[in-house]
Symmetry: C2
Subunit: 678 residues, 2 copies
């Protein structure tokens, strides 16, 4: 008689096993991904499976009611104490008796998929570096003396096949009481580093531990430090939060922080302390939100631009402020939390993604990990817009990277009425092409300014200024309705035909909102504001164009806007300004905080760390500062949208008025008559 | 024409090299041990050699005056600035022109021999884990960005063949300023751990560094913490010192410290802090004595018994106080100094020797390393006498180990007039067999008590008590002159014929010294003192005898007495007491502080660490507490020297009076008439 046939779904793996074989054993032998922490002792319940009964023509089997062994005492006890969903069995207890189809639900898989919203981005598969293992350790034998640690290591090798796990001093300090309290049964958290040789015991709990282990992924931005606290066993984000980078008090932008380090002895150390304190505060916040003990955070992953990277690590960033922009180190780093003064689990491991170049940091590497241009079939341009823009261009053949010094205009700085994205800031702007009247939305309110109740809804925040996405939309709308010409000149009230255009010396400004009657500021867009946006967008475009030159293309297939700011940019308006190359608008996607997502991927999947390390070494770095064509591209890009690039796809969608406000008044046409349809 | 022949002495290695080859290059190609830190750049002067001229029939060559290239500018400059001994050349500068004999003086060898006094012990060859390397690093290239650290690592690989050296966060923090201050030339201290994968940069100095690197070897005893500070480049001990183990305030002996840990919450932590503080104080003392910066101490090696080992490491020793005497870990440990709160170089590496068993610790492993029973052709018994005696027996075939609970009597504790070895303590005792009068010496004075001037010379210290070696000699002398019988009974004044024998209730005591007239104490040896010594020596002998049983021998070829105390024991007296088995007296050697020497060997030679780790796993552990024959051996050993063992070699050298003081007075013979000749 042949042995019973077992078919696992959804994997489809199948094999024959002698009657009496536990389902978990069969799964392991077939390489089916079925979780277990307790090693098949009926304690952890992670190996829950759902047997399917009946006729399965697809698999060619009929499964009888008695295909698995009846409930045993262990399963009954487990069901009583902890509950077991209808139809579920414990894979380690249920034994195979006849042909059977066994479904492994997602939550019973070790390498389960972590839900991600965007279909175009890479999947996140849970495969964390830190895992729990329950073991039974042999008690000491006076006749054959050996250390308790050595016997624990042997148990991990014999019961889990972990042949190279070692304990450190902290393990030894906690081990003896734990072994005795747990009657020689303990649960270990083991960190699996690079390769077989680097696996170490992080924590030992008496008996079976099921209290959770956690990790945190942190994006250290120049303005904001943002973190996700994740459950390392489920992959779920259990808390997300951010706080201002306190280094701002040493300088708003990156270069002013480098200057602070150069001019002030001990300045770099001060900034290092500030950001480490902020990270500790953030971790505390996250732990409080999730109601967990921060000592249960076993891992942290950090990304950031090179200057944030160096300051976090306690490395003076001076060299990054001057050519040749030498990084202290470009490779990924694995550190102990206490090396950078972080208060997590005392043995917590820190992983810092590699930097790509002196201007293209671990944040760009994280974006590359999240957006995976190296896996893309079509040619993707990824733009992470911030004070510096990091730009990636590539496909599965080849990936290029550069950074471009856009300056802080896109963040609302250096704009006359600019402000950071905060409640009260104008973030959306539309101008009616017929009436020339603007309407807008502010952060913190879902109503448009011409909706009923807007004044009341914004009474508490007011309308205080204009943030990055707001200024981009305002300038783009001005261009679209002909208040602004392609060279970036704002027309006079007369020539552009709008009484919102105010003379300011020899230039003009456009009144977006007059809050005077409500005691608020007048919000205008000045000629200087437009110039600041032009400089920023030219730098951004020129960087992207340099990469396209190097790649040998004039077009890209799709564009991903990354960065917290990227999430709020309207692709249409960005393209009207010529921030990004011409492209089908429905091929322009926002990736949200892709750097933060990349950090989270590295936290949840050890293989992803190895992948991005390899990808980074293959990325071709383009240094904009020494590329002769950068200046040329920059100048051509100063027009709105561009002096020479046709932007045919954009123009097919939206007409841009051919107004010109430069030169003598008489030779120009007014804008009003040529306003675009939308 | 054949190439010139080069012969190196003392190695005898020879080979032909094209004219113009530098001596250093020839040495390297032949595998001649010729040092260099600067990599042949004429900076470090470590490759000094002495060419020999004239006719060398032994080597079959004649060396002309012009066999080496003339002095070049680098050598001239070096000679002017730093001086070069007569006849010396820099091996990296002097080029071979004709047949030549080149002597490599010991100080130019990397693996030089470190001088050791005792011929019978293993050689110490210098081969430290931490070494200096001078390198030239490629400056950064903006077009081809890489981290400064990566370029340093490449330089170490290319210029020194160190393919797997990595830097850590501290390296990155110090690297950029050092590279620029040294104009892209730096000296690195590199720690070579276990195997190729574990080599790391500990320190980076700008330019060529020649300020020395150091290590410290520490023996953590229950009573004393003793350290040697060594120059890692020469192997020399540059300072030695010791201080009291402050844990003494928690308990005199080991078991009382374990009790303290068991009875007092936080007690183990208190003792850990105490011993770590003491070690830091000791290191400071050593650094002050040697006039070096303690931050230049890159390595420390620790040995100690299992309880000291655990307390140093911050592991609660409770389990070591009760069967089955489970060690937390038995293997060797490599730690960072800050893991155990030591203030050395911030990246300093700590090596802790392995323990052999729950009672036989890293100190015994260090003794095994120093005395190398595993390399011995004859059968050697090694006894490390302290509160616990650790005993090793073996030869190159097989090594056994045990510990035996001798208690503190051998250290002067539990002895009525006992005291620690300190100035004023009686350390030597002789009794004139004819007159029965004793004479003695005290610590701190070279005179015997019957020498003229003794009273004056000891006026400052007084004669305060009797230390371990003193009580052993006193009891042995009493046995030799018949004041004491083989069963350990002290005779009465009457029966033993000495007016120094004083009745004390039903037993007798012997007056060694009456200091009353000088205001000092009366120093006597009581019956209880003899009993305490008998218990201690029986335990010691029984342990040794157990190992001999296990080995299958009745005799050993030689005996090594280790331990600071071992250095002061008189082999004759030890054997009269039966502390050690019968053996030729000239085959009983003192090894001094063999544990400390073992620590120093492990400090100076990385391969020795691997050796002792391997040896320890092969040592057969014998647990005296569960060996049924231990009690039997213990009882038989309580006689002086022994109830059944003949001690023929001892008796051939010294007659032991056949007195008996037990039973009725009338049936016994007095001792006086049968006093032994000496």
């Amino acid at each position: 008689m042949t042995d019973p046939l077992v078919i696992f779904t959804p994997s489809g793996k199948r094999g024959r096993f002698p009657a009496g074989t536990p389902v978990l054993t069969a799964a392991r032998q077939l390489g089916v991904d079925l979780d277990s922490v307790c090693g098949g002792r009926g304690i952890c319940s992670r190996c829950q499976v759902r047997p399917a009964y009946g006729n399965f023509p697809k698999h060619g089997v009929t499964v009888d009611e008695g295909a698995l062994s009846p409930w045993n005492a262990v399963e009954e006890r487990y069901r009583e104490k902890r509950g077991l969903a209808e139809g579920r069995r414990l894979g380690c207890q249920a034994a195979i008796r006849a042909d059977v189809v066994i479904d492994v639900p997602p939550e019973s898989q070790v390498h389960r998929q972590v839900v991600r919203k965007r279909a175009e981005a890479r999947d996140i598969v849970l495969d964390p570096c830190t895992r729990l293992y329950f073991v039974e350790v042999q008690p000491p034998d006076m006749q054959n003396p050996s250390g308790d640690l050595e016997r624990l290591e042997r148990a991990l090798a014999e019961q889990w096949g972990l042949a190279h796990v070692v304990g450190d001093l902290r393990t030894m300090q906690m081990l003896q009481p734990a072994l005795r309290a747990g009657a020689w049964k303990v649960t270990c958290a083991v960190y699996h580093g690079r390769g077989l040789g680097d696996a170490r015991i992080m924590q030992v709990w008496p008996g079976f531990y099921d209290g959770g282990i956690y990790g945190v992924a942190v994006d250290v931005g120049s303005t904001t430090v943002a973190g996700h606290l994740c459950d390392l066993q489920s992959g779920e984000v259990i808390a997300s939060d951010g706080l201002m980078n306190p280094q701002i008090r040493f300088g708003e932008d990156l270069m002013s922080r480098v200057s602070y380090a150069m001019m002030n002895p001990g300045g770099a150390e001060e900034m290092t302390r500030a950001v480490r304190d902020a990270i500790n505060a953030l971790v505390q916040q996250l732990a409080v939100q999730a109601m967990i003990d921060p000592e249960l955070i076993f891992e942290a992953v950090f990304v950031g631009n090179p200057i944030m990277h160096h300051l976090l690590l306690g490395i003076d960033p001076t060299e990054l402020g001057q050519a040749p922009f030498a990084l202290s180190t470009a490779t990924s780093l694995t550190l102990w939390a206490n090396e950078i003064d972080l208060v997590l689990h005392p043995d917590a491991r820190i992983y810092v993604l590699p930097c790509i170049a002196g201007h293209v940091g671990a944040d760009a590497a994280a974006v590359a990990l999240s957006e995976a241009p190296n896996r893309s079939g079509d040619l993707v341009l990824i733009v992470d817009v911030g004070t510096n823009a990091e730009i990636l261009l590539g496909n599965s053949d080849r990936v290029l990277a550069c950074s471009s010094p856009t300056g802080p205009a896109f963040e609302g700085a250096q704009i006359s009425c600019g402000q950071r994205a905060a409640p009260g800031a104008i973030e959306r702007v539309r101008i009616d092409p017929q009436t020339g009247q603007p309407r807008f939305r502010v952060i913190g309110c879902d109503l448009w300014s011409d909706d009923p109740g807007f004044a009341a809804a914004t009474a508490s925040t007011g309308v205080t200024g204009i943030c990055g996405s707001g200024i981009i939309e305002a300038v783009a709308e001005m261009r679209m309705v002909g208040l602004l010409d392609a060279s970036g000149l704002i027309g006079s009230a007369d020539r552009a035909g709008s009484d919102r255009l105010l003379a300011e010396g020899r230039t003009h400004a456009w009144l977006l909102h007059d809050g005077a009657d409500r005691g608020g500021p007048r919000i205008v867009v000045t000629q200087n504001d437009v110039r600041a946006i032009q400089l920023a967008k030219s730098a951004l475009y020129a960087g992207a164009r340099l990469l396209m030159d190097r790649f040998g293309v004039d077009d890209v297939d799709r564009i991903v806007l990354a960065g917290a700011f990227g999430a709020h940019i309207s692709p249409l308006h960005a393209m009207v300004l010529g921030m990004i190359p011409d492209c089908d608008l429905d091929k322009v996607q926002s990736a949200g905080n892709a750097a933060g997502t990349g950090a989270r991927i590295a936290l949840l999947n050890g293989a992803a760390r190895r992948e991005i390390e390899a990808v980074v070494t293959r990325i071709e770095k383009v240094e904009t500062a020494v590329e002769p064509r950068f200046q040329e591209h920059f100048v051509a890009a100063s027009q709105l949208p561009h002096a020479t690039a046709p932007y045919a796809r954009l123009r097919a969608r939206v007409a841009l008025p051919e107004v010109r406000f430069g030169g003598s008044t008489s030779g120009e046409r007014g804008g009003r008559r040529r306003r675009a349809a939308r």
